[in-house]
Subunit: 482 residues, 2 copies
């Protein structure tokens, strides 16, 4: 129901939603025949051409298949019957991080032109509000004489106000004085970890987790303690409790809303408990909510910050990288009781943040178009991950498991144990296809039979061919050890 | 000769240059009468009105004075006869830096609206290429679809190419692969110091030096060793040699081209020697050349990087903050042999740098208009610092000393020893005037009888009144200790 109403496409979207709704509700089961074109045309009051277009698009996206001289049938939903990856089982000992070379070669590989972009977790430019931002940029370039000058260290007053306003729709009511604007979530994470840790300290992370955290921990000489993380419900609380018992643990980094790469969502009832556990042991929580605005369910899940009643445990981090524009590098941190120390880091790191991008973003948020934009991309990304998953399930070797993300736009694919995904990554690169090898997502030598697939780009034939090719190649990347 | 030819103002500028040239060459001495309006009009082939306008502007700027019924006379050039500040004499012991609160309250004070901006060393927006950048911004907003997406970690290829091209006009020929784009010079400095030092290490700095360095050293737990620095010739080489003998010294941070706050310029013959001394002791040089493009003499001074024949000693840092746009936060570093380690820091700190600003800057540099812009602002800033100095000399207490900068746009004012400039800073702030108190520019408790005055804003009556007011207040800020 949230698909962007794209002019003429609006009516055919209604058909699409009608059919996918019936599939989701079980009214149409795998193998069932879809209503005929004529009956659907009559029912919806739309032309047969429109119905035909909707049906063929559903076929293209892998939901249905056409049988000659017969009609359209719901395909066996192999993605649905594909199991999710196993819960992770990392070594519980603190690990010194040494992943920079791997991360660096991965990031370098991503920038070559004309690659099939299944590697980086970057939004597709088709899912960014390009026109709106360009329109505002042109105006801001002329009207705002302060664009060329420094913003203050905390960031633009108006942008912080707009962010606080946006957050009040799902989280606590904040004053703009409680926010610091940063060069993306990366700088927010760096400043926070630098403020909270010393070399040799330990930080708890989900396993698998976003490799960017590992990069910062490595730079700061901080050990990672990885805890078991369920592909659907996230952080394992028993394992967290064990991890909290280590000495010199300074923080837990967690993505309750859609762990990257798993897409997991922490159950609401666990959230106050996680805050309580950390608070009792005096460990700070660094909540990365960068994907929180891209929830697939109607209602946005809560944030840990909201459960931090005493406002002494959670540091909240987010950015517009996944939803509006990665290239703007605008993130923010709500530092809570660490405000002084984190602001001090921010000042040392870069003095202030790009003025123009702050001014463009504040106008964009003030225009009120952000929530409409979010409704659109949530629906798009939800459909796209379903389509990608369906095709991965179809073309990848037997025994492959696929995550069922609750938000964001990546899926985590667990290949059979004997498949070496690092070798697959290199072979794919030679074919012009990027994927993110599992080794990136742990400080340990884990997940080498896993890959992360970026589903942010609208499905097309090139991507379909890439998935087919990847499936073929995966079969040839077996290693001899079990 | 480099004043921007401002349409109709061009002719009267010629008169101005003619007169100031005569004063500089000593053809017109303090107390001498200027050529009469009529004779000058005949000589230059310009109207008497034009000559009159030039003479009254020279009066406004403090170079000449009108005597009723008589004519214009060269005023006693009190700025010229005012001595420069004494060479500094810091404690030679390593000092733990603890200036964050002071720096933070200073930066916070700067952002209030409607202050007379003599505090921050920020370019005036009148001396930035606003129109040109706005024109490019509008075009780039429409034409470059990559604006919203990440640039790679090193920065935009084209921008790095353009910077290398610009640098080849005064320094070594570099490939774009040797540059990393950063969030201003601040991030470049942070990344470099983080790569080169561990907590407890020592770094040599000029005394006084830019407080931004101190902020980074404090954050990283690195000690500062301050060396004597001459207001005209910069770093004292004997003192440098002593400082290099300390254990755990990892780097020298130096601004050979116009120390901020002194405006000093290291003599050309000292430059290879500084590189040799550091190279022999295995100490890296972090060369901050952020003001290098704003040289007052015709020829740009060299950079230390050029004298680093083995390319194993100098890390070069610069940015467009002082010349094009502080708000863009675009700087760069030439990391030399520390490339891997510094790139790794940059990736951890912010992953990549704002795309739009990189694209706008690369177009601006490619347009070839940067060198013409520089010619204009060099001349403006040279004239402005002269005008400010003249008025400071006139209105400040006897015994005041003023630096004679060779570039940039600030002057360093040494007040009589008994004047407490920190108290002056607070009193001035209450009157809506910002200045930078001397305490900011040293890790030690030094320079509390000094202030830095920003001269980037074109001279006007408001500023004149502020200088007069400051002079009055300075007289009332005596402390009782000698």
């Amino acid at each position: 129901m949230d698909q962007i109403p794209l002019n003429s496409g609006f009516r055919y979207e209604k058909v699409r939603e009608h059919i996918t709704g019936m599939i989701e509700e079980g009214l149409l089961k795998p193998g069932d025949k879809l209503p005929s074109l004529r009956s659907m045309s009559d029912q919806m009051g739309l032309s047969i051409t429109t119905i035909m277009k909707a049906y063929t698009d559903l076929e293209f996206d892998g939901f249905v298949e056409a049988k000659p001289q017969s009609g359209f049938y719901v395909i066996d939903d192999i993605a649905k019957s594909t199991p999710v990856p196993r819960i992770s089982n990392p070594d519980s000992n603190p690990t010194r991080v040494d992943k920079f070379n791997l991360i660096h070669s991965f990031l370098n590989a991503m920038v070559k032109p004309n690659l099939i972009p299944l590697g980086g977790a970057l939004p597709s430019h088709l899912n960014l509000p390009e026109k709106e931002l360009n329109r505002i940029s042109k105006r801001v370039a002329i009207e705002n004489p302060d664009n060329l000058l420094y913003e203050n260290v905390m960031g633009s007053d108006e942008l912080r106000h707009q962010i606080a306003y946006h957050m009040s729709s799902f989280g606590p009511v904040l004053s703009k004085e409680e926010l610091i604007i940063t060069n993306g979530a990366t700088e927010a994470m760096y400043a926070t970890l630098k403020a909270l840790t010393n070399p040799g300290d330990k930080v708890i992370v989900e396993s698998p987790c976003y490799f960017g955290y590992l990069q910062v921990l490595e730079t700061l000489g901080v050990f990672a303690i990885e805890v078991r993380t369920h592909p659907e419900t996230g952080l394992d609380l028993d394992d967290l409790q064990c991890a909290l018992k280590h000495s010199r643990v300074r923080a837990l980094i967690v993505q309750p809303n859609f762990n990257n790469p798993l897409g997991s969502q922490m159950p609401e009832e666990s959230r106050p408990e996680v805050v309580r556990l950390c608070r009792e042991t005096g460990i700070a929580i660094i909540e990365d909510d960068i994907l929180g605005d891209i929830h697939y369910n109607e209602k946005r899940p809560s944030i840990l910050l909201e459960h931090d009643r005493f406002r002494d445990t959670v540091v909240y981090i987010s950015s517009f990288t996944k939803t509006v524009a990665p290239g703007m590098r605008i993130g923010w941190v709500i530092p809570g009781k660490f405000a002084n120390e984190i602001l001090r880091q921010k000042a040392s790191l870069s003095m202030s943040t790009n003025s123009v991008s702050q001014h463009v973003l504040q106008e964009y948020l003030a225009s009120g178009k952000y929530s409409r934009h979010l409704r659109g991309i949530r629906s798009n990304y939800k459909n796209q991950t379903a389509t990608y998953s369906c095709h991965i399930a179809k073309h990848f070797p037997g025994g492959t498991r696929i995550s069922k993300p609750r938000g964001g736009f990546v899926v985590w694919v667990e290949l059979p144990r004997e498949i070496d995904s690092f070798s697959l990554y290199h072979r794919a690169l030679k074919e012009g296809i990027t994927i993110a090898p599992g080794l990136l997502f742990s400080a340990q030598e884990r997940y080498n039979n896993c890959i992360r697939i970026n589903c942010s780009n609208p499905w097309n034939e090139k991507i379909e061919n890439a998935i087919i090719k990847l499936g073929e190649m995966a079969g040839n990347c077996e290693i001899n050890i079990r």
